[in-house]
Symmetry: C2
Subunit: 79 residues, 2 copies
Amino acid sequence: QGWELTHDATRLERTFKFGNFVEANRFVDRVGELAEEEGHHPDITFGWGYATVVIWTHKIGGLHENDFIFAAKTNRLAE
Amino acid sequence: QGWELTHDATRLERTFKFGNFVEANRFVDRVGELAEEEGHHPDITFGWGYATVVIWTHKIGGLHENDFIFAAKTNRLAE
């Protein structure tokens, strides 16, 4: 499963699967570090075995080129 | 705001507010560590300035004494 457009195509969302809570948490840590580096802050939901990342540009209430770049960088963190 | 019962009183939910993304992320890190220590895994959503923790016992599809204990310990991590 790749990224999906949600909320009338104003957000990018992808759920990543993991074998347990710790692995999901580690991935979320990396996404959090990326968010700080990029100054771009997604909403992240995680728990046992999964993490869902929602990306959008709050200022414009929708998607900007930077959101797609952030999505591509997030993918790399899951590899 | 304290904990609320949601999903027909099968879950405990509380949203904690923070001044930025990093502070929310740090709180989430601490909740993740607590989850591993306790062997009890909440669902956590966070982003810029907030973190929402949802606690329930997946095995019984509802709330057990341990969930209330976990909620109390989560409160301490936010202090």
